[in-house]
């Protein structure tokens, strides 16, 4: 299974301000009642984007200036809460291909990497700088350079961190592990044989 090598992500950005944005906020639990992930993008951030009557609230994702953004900016501990992969899936299906935040919840970070979404950690100041640049020019092209851990836009060239394991997986085209895992069939069987509770 050959996968794309994700060395950089290019696109427009949108800033969803706030710390501790949890997966319930990203995709409310009631939209998880699905048997496939298709169509989840529609419900991204639903409760903060829509009023109870379905009309739009004020939210960056409802702002037409940012409608084709593919890079999401946020604050601390992004994606905390439930481990549901519906949240990264909703982000992916909405069209996001990269995230920049101060920090991430563990499971969310792993789930994003497996979908091929690089998660960059940047400082609060740098995120503010990016947000201000996007606000000034929503069509600004941002480059998330995974390999070199840089974020470039306009004349800016910022340092950001992509955890080493994720960086290697993304840039090496191994972000979805299924191929490599399946190769180890006989090694797996050996470990299984040594564990009494695995006996049929």
């Amino acid at each position: 299974m050959a996968l794309e090598k994700i060395t950089q992500v290019r696109g427009k950005g949108v800033y969803v301000a706030g710390n501790e944005i949890d997966t319930d906020r990203i995709i409310p639990a009631r939209f998880m009642k699905c048997v496939t992930f298709n169509g989840l993008g529609e419900y991204l951030f639903y409760d903060v984007r829509k009023n109870e009557d379905g009309s739009d609230k004020e939210h960056p994702l409802n702002d037409s200036r940012f409608s084709d953004a593919t890079i999401l900016l946020s604050g601390e501990n992004f994606g905390c809460g439930s481990s549901r992969e519906h949240a990264p899936q909703a982000l992916y299906r909405y069209g996001f291909r990269g995230i920049v935040a101060e920090s991430y919840a563990e499971i969310f970070f792993g789930n994003c990497t497996t979908l091929g979404i690089p998660c960059f950690c940047a400082t609060k100041e740098d995120i503010r700088t990016m947000a201000a640049a996007i606000e000034a020019d929503p069509s600004l092209e941002i480059t998330l350079d995974v390999e070199n851990e840089r974020i470039r836009f306009g004349d800016q060239n910022l340092t950001a961190v992509v955890r080493e394991s994720a960086r290697m997986a993304l840039s090496g085209g191994k972000w979805d592990m299924i191929g490599e895992l399946a190769e180890g069939e006989s090694e797996i069987a050996k470990v299984v044989a040594g564990l009494p509770y695995m006996a049929p």
């Binding site: 319930d24 409310p28 639990a29 992930f37 501990n77 191994k174 180890g184 564990l195």
Partner: protein, 474 residues
């Protein structure tokens, strides 16, 4: 070299080092439910892959099942589609399914231990963040995403980076009226919702030695709320006693060999941890949350914080929480009116939870206008409660006694808050919108504290309401 349980279990299950530096880890026990598994089975079909070890995956249905009208088809067509999809997937692949008619259905983290599937020295994963619950038995149990469920179905392994281990000691004595729920809320309040990121939490000390298995499960369950993906307690005699005679526990000659093996996984006394944190059990009070994450917790005798009085970096979140919760800053949390009282969930929906509450409910009445529901964590818990007559105690007090499931913990079934109702809840998450209404409010607490809130119609100190123990002023 002396090692922690985490290290020993990891080594026993490591298959190889992958190209990205992570470890390919064998997951001996895979638990699935209806919400996160159907997409994984779909991916498996798309890739034309088979389930490699179907006898090591166990399924139950919990999140979407109604707790009152349980006959199928369910009123909600989507819920109905999910249970039928899980049934089909299990039938096609040979996975064991504790389906509704089995008498063994329930919340996945209640069913695993109760069936004896959860065992010491094993690796467990489930597409659910509260999988850490199973660590109470000295298992290493991970919450995973749907893609990893697919990986497990296809290979019984997944790719993981090794965690560091933080030992959390709680020594001393808990005051009467202080429960396992208070212990974990206290730990999270002190170490923060991010404190455990990158760590497995190993819980120990005299408080944990004295805890029952169900109390240990309550604490391990909420490890993830403290940011730790894994939480565990070393196996001891209580662990073995709990497991003896359970349907999936080893029996006959195999039992003694299994216990010997299980014992060998416990952390070596001189092992080095990446971090050690100490708590004094005597400093823990009945604890309630006041905000929108589990770290925003206080003792029931304390007041809701003010923005001005909060640390600089907390201010924005405190303001956001106060506004959402509609609580007056600086006012005592005690006396806050509640609308709904919920006892259940994988944190506190086990037999001992209902037994403990029933002790105090006798002769009491739920306050006028309060909706109080008790939802057993599994059909087995339900049955035992009925055999013991506990459900009558709840019903006589004015609680509705429901069928087993997740229910109002996250309200994917018909049990939901309406508008900005405030719920006193024995569950584990107080995030915005968690209990089914985008403006619904959740206050987390122990089951006995929920019962006290139900009786008073407001957040109350169960020690006062029920005259439990001396009123230690902590």
């Amino acid at each position: 070299m002396s090692q922690s349980l985490f290290g020993k279990v990891w080594d026993a299950h490591a298959v190889k080092t992958l190209s990205n530096g992570q470890t390919q880890l064998l997951i001996g026990t895979h638990l699935i439910h209806e919400v996160t598994s159907p997409q994984a089975f779909g991916m498996l079909r798309d890739l034309n892959l088979k389930v490699a070890y179907p006898h090591r995956t166990f399924a139950t249905v919990d999140h979407i099942v109604p707790t009152d009208q349980r006959q199928e088809p369910f009123a909600d067509p989507l819920a109905d589609a999910m249970i039928r999809e899980l049934r089909r997937n299990c039938e096609e692949t040979g996975v064991t399914f504790f389906d509704l008619p089995s008498g063994k259905q329930g919340i996945v983290h209640v069913v695993g231990p109760e069936q004896g599937i959860t065992q010491p020295g094993t690796t467990i994963a489930c597409g659910d963040s509260h999988t850490s619950t199973h660590g109470a038995f000295g298992a290493i149990a991970f919450g995973i995403g749907t893609t990893q469920i697919r990986d497990l179905l296809a290979t019984q392994t997944m790719a993981l980076a090794k965690l560091k281990v933080r030992r959390i000691n709680v020594n001393g004595e808990l005051h009467p009226g202080v429960y396992a729920k208070d212990v974990i809320l206290h730990i999270i309040q002190k170490l923060g919702v991010k404190g455990g990121t990158g760590f497995a939490y190993e819980y120990g000390g005299s408080v944990f030695d004295n805890f029952s298995m169900e109390e240990r499960m309550t604490v391990c369950n909420m490890s993830i709320e403290g940011g730790a993906r894994v939480g565990y307690v070393n196996p001891d005699e209580k662990t073995f006693e709990y497991l003896k005679g359970r349907p999936y526990s080893p029996s006959g000659d195999e039992w003694d060999a299994a216990v010997k093996r299980w014992r060998s996984f416990a952390s070596d006394p001189d092992c080095e941890y990446d971090d050690v944190v100490e708590f004094d059990g005597a400093n823990i009070a009945p604890t309630v949350t006041w905000g929108i994450n589990p770290e925003q917790a206080i003792s029931v005798v304390e007041s809701v914080p003010t923005v001005e009085g909060s640390a600089e970096k907390e201010k924005a979140l405190v303001a956001e929480a106060l506004e959402y919760m509609k609580l007056p800053a600086g006012a005592p949390i005690k006396g806050t009116k509640v609308d709904i009282c919920f006892i259940g969930s994988c944190t506190n929906g086990r037999l001992s939870d209902f037994e403990e509450v029933a002790k105090y409910l006798e002769g009491q009445k739920v306050a006028e206008g309060i909706k109080a529901i008790a939802v057993p964590g599994s059909q087995v818990v339900d049955l035992i409660c009925r055999e013991k007559g506990l459900h009558t105690v709840f019903e006589n007090a004015g609680f509705e006694w429901r069928g087993a499931g997740c229910s109002m913990c996250l309200a994917m079934n018909p049990d939901k808050l309406i508008g900005d109702q405030l719920s006193a809840s024995s569950s584990n998450r107080n995030f915005k919108g968690r209990q089914g209404s985008p403006t619904g409010r959740t206050v987390l607490m122990s089951p006995v504290m929920v019962a006290a809130a139900a009786i008073k119609g407001e957040i109350a100190d169960a020690r006062e309401v029920f005259g439990v123990g001396e009123l230690a002023n902590v």
